[in-house]
Amino acid sequence: MTPRALDWGLRGYIALVFVFIFAPIVFSMIFSFNSDRFPTIPLGSFTTKWYEAIWNDPDVWKAVRTSLIVSGCTAILATALGFATAYTDYRYNFRFKSAYLALVLLPPTIPLIIMALAMLAWLSKIGASGQVWSIILAHTVLTAPFAMAVIRLRLNQMDASIEAAAWNLGASEWGAMRNVIVPYCKPAIISALCLTAAVSFDEFAIAWFVSGLNKTVPVMILEIVQGNIDPRVNALGTFVFLTSMTLVIIAQVVLMTRKGVKA
């Protein structure tokens, strides 16, 4: 095989990988407008009845509200904690620092179902399960590492002498934080807010276990798909896809454009 043919082969292969990854998203969106109950091809006629069905369902509205509260609060808490940790790692050395970092970064490597069971048991024990804020507590643990990573990468690009210069010019530590560090990290903070909101908005295992009657949208989807094939899932799914994709795209673009300006 000539190198040229090989290169085209590899490009075709990359395309196939992308088809595999994006096919379920695209099909879900297409079938959300399909009139047939069982989604297959050839397609039935165009319809918006599944969207009307979810639009008119008060349970869906309740779930959307719960989801927005959970992902909004999680994003703020996780980003605040992530920022504090990233700054600590950037600025200080101390004993047991690697244990400290492991403590912060490990949660996403624990299978969600295990975290779900552990959270359910623990929160029941301390009398904090079955509430909307139970989900928020658990999601904050899960998402803070993502916020920490994004903000830490941003701090990596910052010249350490900038903060020192602010001190030398008379700024207090708090003043330098407010006027130097935070503004510098702003794109990363926005990015972290979006990313943690997206992860929380999509998470279903922990939310399913600890939420009690306060269903989030993914938990509602989980309960619908345990029954029969129901095309409402595609409509709800499209809404979830668009929400989290928008958040992840913003999270990435905010970081990229700022890097471009600096370079």
Partner: protein
Amino acid sequence: MRGRENINMPRPNAYALTWRLPIIVWQFLFFVGPLLFMVAMSFFLVKNYRMIEAFEMKNWVKMFGRNYFWDSYWLTLWLATLSTIVTTLVAFPASFALAFRTSETVRRWAIFLLIIPFFTSYLVRTFSWYTILAESGVINAMLGSIGIDPITMLNTKFGTIVGYMTLTLPLVVVLQTFALANIDRNLVQAARNLGCPPWRTILTVIVPLAKTGLIVAALFCFILSFGDFVAPYYLGGSKPPTLPILIIDTTKSGQQWPRAAVVAVVMMATLITIAFAAITLAYRKRASA
């Protein structure tokens, strides 16, 4: 870099502690606490649907004595291993092409696009596969139109692996691409100049140089597959159930939290062992060849 200024590590002031302490408190309350409590719970008893704090081996004896537990264990281990092998092999040519055969711009866009699905509802994507792979689903409808009989893809290992890959493939491609893009190009060029054929260059130069990153990618793939319940449940048919499904069944329908905790602790122990082995392997220096 900054940290090194404080090499003698002075006593942290209030300012330093304000940034350092919150996450420690938070993680002990809502991360370490729950996990430790879960381990303790595996020794509790359940009487009349109420959990009694105790220290008994009953749940462990019960679970370890049941064949269905071991069936689930070996199945889960095998499926996660299979998923890791298949995903690593499927991802590699794509990562290789992205790292060596495309421009910087294409690579950046590809990674941008791969990060999006990783954070996008895995549950709905798996459900979408259900309708694509079904007996009367999209793929079989296409095959039917060219006269091929429907293939059963749901409730098979194939279905499960497709589901796992929905979760893991984007991440593995991204991690592999980073690992491959970071190796020293001069060494690859040297091998080529010395007449090493392309396949041998890949196997004896590129793969060993990128070993750490490739193993870490495979490890993440294993952890995610091992802990996932959606793919084996909806696409794999759940007969027998995998360990995560066993946790759900035992917790939700059986109300047997302590027994579910046994399963979870066994899963954790397995994952820690495998992670430790993988990391040792990833960072081991090569014996001089």
